[in-house]
Amino acid sequence: MFNKSCLILDDDDNIREPFVKFLIRKGFKKVFGAAKASEALALIEKEKPDFILMDIQLEDEIDGVEILKRIKDGLSPASQVIMLSGHKGLFEKTCRELGAIDFWGKPMDPHEMLEKIQVIIPNKDGS
């Protein structure tokens, strides 16, 4: 359905794993899940995913905002990034200024998320 690749960064297995499963079923070409910032950075550099969804708050040495900076500073500037946060609004302005195209508050329904993703990355390849 989508000739697109996607990366989900969330340190909560119970959110990340089902969502990865969900997106694979919906026909994304490649879906990567990362629990840690280091893991995500390596994957982003190697795979340059079309779409990245990441949680701002990570129990990690670097947070989502810092990763966003690195993506836009050269790691994979063409990737479309959406930030996910439990606190709607907090950091939203910063993230948008840094190049995130959207900012979602939790909780989100996977179906609604997919709809939004489809709007953000239209399937130009027609496949």
Partner: protein
């Protein structure tokens, strides 16, 4: 500091997890059924069922945690805002989600019939609908409560639980007692092992903080620990110890103590340990 905001945030997080897992297993179930038949190999079917069961078990756990968070914020809401019906409604939805999850887990055998799969799918659909309703209530009341209570308000998470403190130094007992009372616990103190054993019988504490080394060397906190483990196995025992007491501490853990507070005390350590115990007790009560 355990704030109101932290607890509300955690409660919202539980709904996200619930929704993520449920939507995926609902699709899994529907994927199995095509044209009125189960279209899957035995191994695929087994795998799908096992995944669904695991997710449903987690759904039950989320609801138990959510119940715990509600119990902790409710006294504060009652105090600052007045009794809030929305929380009762939320609790009722959570209970119903829990019940449906339980029922579905029980019905799902390793190789279920198509009827069982269909019923499971319907139940999961109900769980999804209920969780959306619960989530809606939660996200309607949350901002209003934030406004009235203030996000950084500390929550007295003690929940009225009874704590027995044993330490031969009266000033340490008083220090811990004052600290715990402020956190919403009910506290009794003892300075000798015999006194502690007597109090354990009369007050039936949910939590005991027991100093290992006492002035009178013939009885120690370990004796009290042994007594409580036999007569009140439901009581969570925490030892109070000096940092270098590693071997004795190991003995206490073997005897059923769940952890230790080390002297000199670190207030955050005490608070975090007790917060975890409170959540455990609340969860176990469900």
């Amino acid at each position: 500091m355990t704030t109101f905001q932290d607890l509300m945030h955690d409660l919202g997080g539980e709904y996200t997890k619930l929704l993520m897992g449920s939507v995926v297993i609902k699709e899994d179930m529907d994927f199995l059924v095509q044209d009125g038949h189960i279209k899957a190999s035995e191994s695929e079917l087994k795998e799908t069922v096992s995944y669904a069961r695991n997710v449903l078990l987690r759904v039950k756990q989320y609801m138990v945690s959510a119940f715990g968070f509600l119990t902790l914020v409710k006294p504060l809401i009652d105090e600052k805002v007045g009794p809030n019906n929305a929380l009762f409604t939320l609790k009722a939805k959570n209970d119903e989600i829990s019940r449906l999850a339980e029922e579905t887990i029980k019905s799902l055998t390793d190789l279920p019939s198509i009827e069982i799969v269909k019923t499971a799918s319907e139940n999961i659909q109900k769980i999804i609908a209920l969780s959306k309703e619960a989530e809606k209530i939660f996200f309607t009341v949350k901002p209003a409560l934030y406004e009235k209570i203030g996000q950084k308000t500390e929550v007295a998470f003690g929940n009225g639980f009874k704590v027995l403190i044993l330490d031969d130094q009266k000033d340490i007992c008083d220090y811990l007692s004052n600290f715990l009372k402020k956190k919403g616990f009910r506290v009794e103190i003892a300075t000798t092992a015999n006194e502690a054993i007597g109090l354990a019988k009369s007050m039936i504490p949910q939590i005991a903080l027991l100093d290992i080394k006492l002035d009178n060397p013939s009885t120690t906190g370990i004796d009290v620990l042994k007594h409580i483990r036999i007569y009140q196995p439901g009581c969570r025992c925490f030892m109070i110890t000096l940092v270098d007491d590693k071997e004795i501490l190991k003995k206490c853990l073997d005897l059923g103590a769940i952890g230790a507070l080390t002297k000199p005390f670190n207030v955050d350590e005490i608070k975090n340990s007790l917060f975890k115990i409170v959540m455990e007790i609340l969860n176990a009560a469900e």
